[in-house]
Symmetry: C2
């Protein structure tokens, strides 16, 4: 499973574990400016009993093109959700790169089940969070691989959060007993390593916790 | 375009250049044991006038699973070509990882044309060299990206060699004026940095040059 250490991927991992999956966590160090999420991923992987946790460096900054990796200002405040208004935090083909790497590891492990915490409602500006994209990736994955061609495996891309809003994800995380203090969402932490409170990811997290009626442990610290 | 520095990807790049494309070359340093091909890629990119050449490190050894990246013996002599006999040099999901990274860069560049030198005849053991795989990747790519969703671009995966045998590729390279001394094919060079002459890639290259009636400049040196 792809594990960023954020609320969504942490909830996905906790759910897969509750369903009996042995979890192998993959975190991509892609040059993100919010590098504190790499530490969150390690905390979550340990807390949720990952069989293995690989942090793989793939320096997407070499290609440019996103406020998440480039040294440009991040927008403050929640973006509109129309599909044609794709935010500057979009990283070109990020989920395709991440899922491809997960596929490579899965085939090596003889695993068939790949989990990713995308959701279409609160990420509607990101084309690679939509169900039709995930389906197309799954079709491709089963043509791409030795395991798929030999019919030894049938890869499935699991997206258990794809239809959920942030508040529902917060509630699910609580039901699963996730320690939300371990997770990290902010795109733009300051030098004090605290959430900025004003980036897209902070606004969305705050909204989710508020609607779920749950206090965010990160805000109390 | 994906450029390994081998005969195939070099011929693809020369052809695209002859067709008028401004070429951006992407080479993946994935921990391959035949690291000498990275130097070949740099030579070829310079000789063929790449606008830019990125060598991106993605350490696929972290996942294991292939004789090309692990420290195990490579087979000697040509493998059978039945689809069910996939060679130990298969790297799980390699072309999917490579094409995903090419897609990320292409979107950043506002490029629509991605070139890869796969061919199905001489690589029939590799599922990710088949036309049906390439088509599925292209469908996925156009759902994955901001450029695709906004209909600003229509990504095409170009595979000009997909139906050619090695001898035809050698002939095409010669017609295009490629300096074949710049290219590299061997999977298992010795400490003298010379082709081993006995790995899959050497056997295939020798066969291609012999059938095309062309002397391999690498063998004369």
């Amino acid at each position: 499973m792809l594990l960023s250490g954020g609320l969504d991927s942490t909830t996905v991992m906790a759910g897969a574990r509750a369903d009996g999956f042995a979890c192998y966590a993959l975190t991509i160090d892609y040059g993100q400016r919010h590098r504190v999420e790499l530490a969150a991923a390690a905390r979550v992987a340990a807390a949720l009993g990952a069989r293995d946790h690989v942090v793989l460096a793939v320096d997407l900054r070499r290609f440019g093109g996103s406020a998440l990796t480039a040294d440009v200002a991040l927008p403050q405040g929640r973006r509109p959700a129309a599909m044609t208004d794709i935010p500057v935090t979009y990283v070109p083909a990020r989920n395709t790169v991440f899922l491809s790497l997960a596929l490579a590891w899965a085939e090596t492990l003889s695993a068939e089940d790949i989990f990713i915490g995308v959701n279409v409602l609160d990420s509607s500006g990101y084309p690679d969070c939509r169900p039709e994209y995930v389906h197309a990736f799954e079709v491709m994955a089963n043509l791409a691989t030795k395991a798929g061609v030999e019919k030894r495996s049938r890869f499935s891309i699991h997206t258990p959060l794809i239809r959920l809003g942030k508040a529902e994800i917060v509630r699910r995380a609580r039901e699963l007993g996730v320690d939300l203090a371990l997770t990290w969402s902010c795109y733009d932490p300051g030098p004090d390593h605290q959430p900025c409170g004003v980036c897209d990811a902070c606004i969305l997290r705050q909204k989710g916790f508020a609607e779920a009626g749950v206090d965010d442990p990160l805000r109390r610290r």
